[in-house]
Amino acid sequence: MKKVRVGAGSSGWPDYKDGALDVAEHGDVDYMAFDHLAELTMAIMQNQYQKDPKRGYIPEVEPLMKGLLPIWKNKGKHIKMVSNGGGANPPECANQVLKIVKDMDLGGIKIGVITGDTIPLTKLDELEKKGFQFKNMDTGEVGLEKVRKKLLAAYVYIGADKVIEAFDQGADLVIGGRLSDNSLFIGPFMHALGWKYGDAYWDRIGSGVTVGHILECSSWSAGTCSNLWEQIEYPKGNPGFPIVEMYENGDCIVTKTPTSGGMVKVLTLMEHLVYEVHDPHNYIMPDGISDITAIKLEQMGKDKVKITKYGDAPRGKARPENLKLCVAYNDGFIAEEITVISGPKVFKMADKAHDFVLKRLDYLGLKPREVLWSLVGWDSLTGPASKARPDLEHEPPELGIRVAFKCDTREEARVCRTECGHMCWASTGVGTGFTSPPDIRPVFALWPTLIPRPEVPLKLDMVEVK
């Protein structure tokens, strides 16, 4: 049966670079996929691009490619690669990679550059004028009116269509912007195995979407952040990245190299298959809708898990008519301060400091939109689901007190922090609090909605070093 080996190469803006190099060197892979974008990274990228047309892509792509491309050359240029590190500026990202190839004297390379996923804000206005109604997927709100003046960027999660086309045209590397994390894997599966968007293939594409979800977070499926952390080892401090051997019928084996640390177990994959999927019967991606309850995991040996069908239900359904459009807008500023207080009586001290901050905000007439008080080391991560406070004898010797403010302007946020953040001196017995607070950060908020596919024409350009 036809098969293809695809390796994970990245899962964030930066990731463990050696994980990617290890997959290229020792993974015997045909393709590698590099995801660099989180939910709002594109808003940051577009902001950079608007200030400087030479920026707006993920700078980490350059050191990564400098390490990878020599391995790619040594392997006879067999490995095909796909990356969404182009961010808001895939053409410039491709230019930089071409430059690296020339500077390192690596011979020829063909790069497919995908654009069209960024939607100009004026296009949103045009669509609304034509009578199209945007509906917020989270809140149900209709129309962009309330956020229109605060809009920063708009971009569409796109599928693998153009990735496949680029590979068909002989691309060694495909660079795009908001290619969905998942499409970075679906592209290689479909290109190598001849799957098409159509009824005969939704089951297999569904399996691919599920497996793409396993791989897109790289080391997270191979032991990092696992419930099994106590027994997972990284002999050289080297987490491994997962590799999938996908078969023509949609069954596959997930594995990793023996040279890397970490672990591929039924549990490490299962942990990721229940992560951020929401309705597991309908995991919606631009290339297909998968049913994660329709697969079965079996341990075949060390670091080797087989994925097949569980029962008769199809593993996927037809891809959705609409694409997800993310509209990012500015929603004020956040300032925060953390102070570590020393006991005895840390909880009593923390309560007194809290009371002091609230009184002082009132006294100075400051009105942040939101204030959050939390105890680092006690309840900052889980709020009301934290443990009950202990008695004096069992309380911790020290505790972090943290206050965070959200304000409309950077200046208001700054004033709240400087006037009310340094709370420890007035309310506690020991004047700790020596660190610089984190920078005040702008809030990039998200207005998720849908847009019909025909409104998002994509473009593929091929560039090369001969």
Binding site: V266, M270, V274, E276, E298, S380, L446
Partner: protein, 128 residues
């Protein structure tokens, strides 16, 4: 008479949580089939809501996943506005699963062994 014993979800399940906008989702994976029967019955939207109090403002939907003996728990309005808007330290709710895992359920004393299951390192088989 049946003797009941309280166990924490963290003793009978594995867990991982993540986010999408202001939605927190928790994957709660029972270590054993018996444990799956128990969490399917005991871990309800009402109990979860009572556990997280005002940290979860919206609805809670639970999808059982028989193939993994797991529950996919989707909590709306659960992250203080979502990753970039929230004032919480854990912006993407990665620790929400730990919060849930502190919840206690009552089980029959005679089932304790079957529910807590074999130690981690023998666990490889999804059939449990």
């Amino acid at each position: 008479m049946m003797a009941n014993k309280k166990v924490k979800l963290m003793d009978i399940c594995w867990y991982r949580s993540g986010d999408k906008g202001d939605i927190s989702n928790i994957g709660l994976m029972a270590k054993t089939k018996k444990g799956y029967e128990i969490i399917k019955k005991e871990v309800t939207p009402a109990r979860i809501k009572a556990h997280f109090k005002d940290w979860v403002k919206g609805d809670i939907v639970i999808y059982p996943m028989d193939n993994f003996c797991a529950l996919e728990i989707v909590m709306f309005g659960a992250l203080g506005g979502g990753a970039t808007k929230t004032l919480r330290l854990d912006q993407t709710g990665k620790a929400m699963s730990v919060g849930l895992a502190r919840m206690e359920v009552e089980i029959d004393e005679k089932d304790v062994k079957a529910v807590i299951g074999p130690p981690y390192d023998t666990m490889a088989n999804p059939e449990k």
